[in-house]
Amino acid sequence: MTEHPNDYIKPELMACCGAREINDKDRVIVGTGFPTMAANIAKHTHAPNAMMMQESGSYDAIPRRPALSVGDPCLNPGAAMIGGLVEIMGMFLQRGWVDVGFLSGSQVDKFGNINTTVIGNYDNPKSRLPGSGGANPIGSLVKRVLIIALHDTRRLAEKVDFITTPGYIDGPGARKKWGLEEDNGPWALITNKAVLRFDNETKEAYLATYHPGTSVDEVVKSTPWDLKVSDDVHETEPPRADEIRVLREVLDPNRMIKIYEGRGYV
């Protein structure tokens, strides 16, 4: 029997959900926080040959402390290869070598499009956000995009104010029309309430699993579009003992992951 400790917090569950989407030997482009933890949980459990890279130029780094940015000093010593943006974003990503990318956004819509540019009008914004950075090319070019988002009717949207990063754009056929690989794109949308996946035909996000403590109804009500529900919808598997052990003992002994609770991931 797989053990499932009871004392996990929601960000830990979300990190585990991310980890389970990573296959052995996947090449994963990570940022900091959730993505790094998720990828590392995978590497320490079922995907020992998963390889990570940061857009700043570091490949297969061996950080001795949690990286606090994608250019963190701890990503230098011990890495297998260090170049710059052209190597990682061009030679690895644009050339088609990157399997998985993690993205988060202030707004995410039903087609998995992400907004990290602006809330409100572009020229007279309510709130100016950081911009694309690496998000757009990662969303455009990795095989499977894992999206992390808060689940409420403000963060999820029928339509984002600004498409910074393409998901399935305006639906079936759109990626192909723009010259993007049709089979690539958003793979799972991991929120603090559920895991949504994307329908092969309609390209819309649908409910796959709901986290312990919520329900199909609550998730549907928290979603601003007419959320379809999978026929075999079920509860998300809670963090397993081995996942939790890696997270708390190896990756994040100071439990920095708790800061995500403060950001609403509860």
């Binding site: 606090l68 250019g71 230098n76 540019t117 090319p137 455009s140 498409i163 754009i169």
Partner: protein, 311 residues
Amino acid sequence: MNKVMSMKEAIETHVNDGAFLYIGGYIARPPFSAIHEIVRQKKRDLTVVRSNAADGFDMLIGAGCVKCFIATFLSLGFYGLARCYRRSIESGIPHKIELEEYSNLSLPMMLMAGALGMPFLPTKDMVGTDLLNVKSFMGDNKYKMIESPFDGSPTLLVPALRPEVGIIHVQQADENGNAQMWGIGGDCQWGANASDKVIISCERIVSRDVIGLDPSRTIVPDFKVVAVVEEPFGAHPGYTPGFYDVDFVFGSHYQQASNTVEGFEAFLDEWVFGTADRIEYIQRYIEKYGYGQFKNLEAGFGFSPPVSYEY
């Protein structure tokens, strides 16, 4: 030709109001000493470019130095929001900068194209998104969509960038400007070489002989360089691999100060206008934060295996 000079002289001589600047760094090796000197000398109407900008660019914007920004991203990341940037865009304080936005694939490639003498090049990102729907000072030359003449597929072309001056901070350079760097690169090599002339800020000046012991580490050749400034600790509060760590305490201090206009101005008064140069800046740092914290930033011991180029 000895190009060694002070940062004051380098910025006075080579950065004019209205100039188009590439300013390197990627948390690793931001040329912060040069940024402070640009603020100190109250340069105006600059066009600035870099992939993934952070606190240094926020400061230039807040100080009113920037007119146009060719950008992909500006955030203070772990520290919090880039307040000067947001005040400029949201409220026009001190003025609204003009913004031309790309991504962390397309912009490094545009610098690479500039460095390699190409007029433009194709990239595969940005298509299908609003990044193509907003254009600013680059107008219709922000990009072109064409049908590939090879196979007819829709292809995005982005233009080469050729800044007038590139400013980077590296580990070491010789007096002529041959500049050597190792560790995380960001878009430094391409940005510097895209530029017509380069200001090299470095942790240490070494002899031409030392450069010649490992020429594969050189990222900028001397003939592009107009100034070499020996500026130890010059990337602080960013880091330089092999020399010192990121200063999280000071980084947070800047973020908190910059939450208000008053706090930002007080920060500049204390750390930029209130210091004449990097020596005074470090002196103040040690007085305020203590030599212990300063010393703690110093990098641990590391040692790469020597290699030979002999025959």
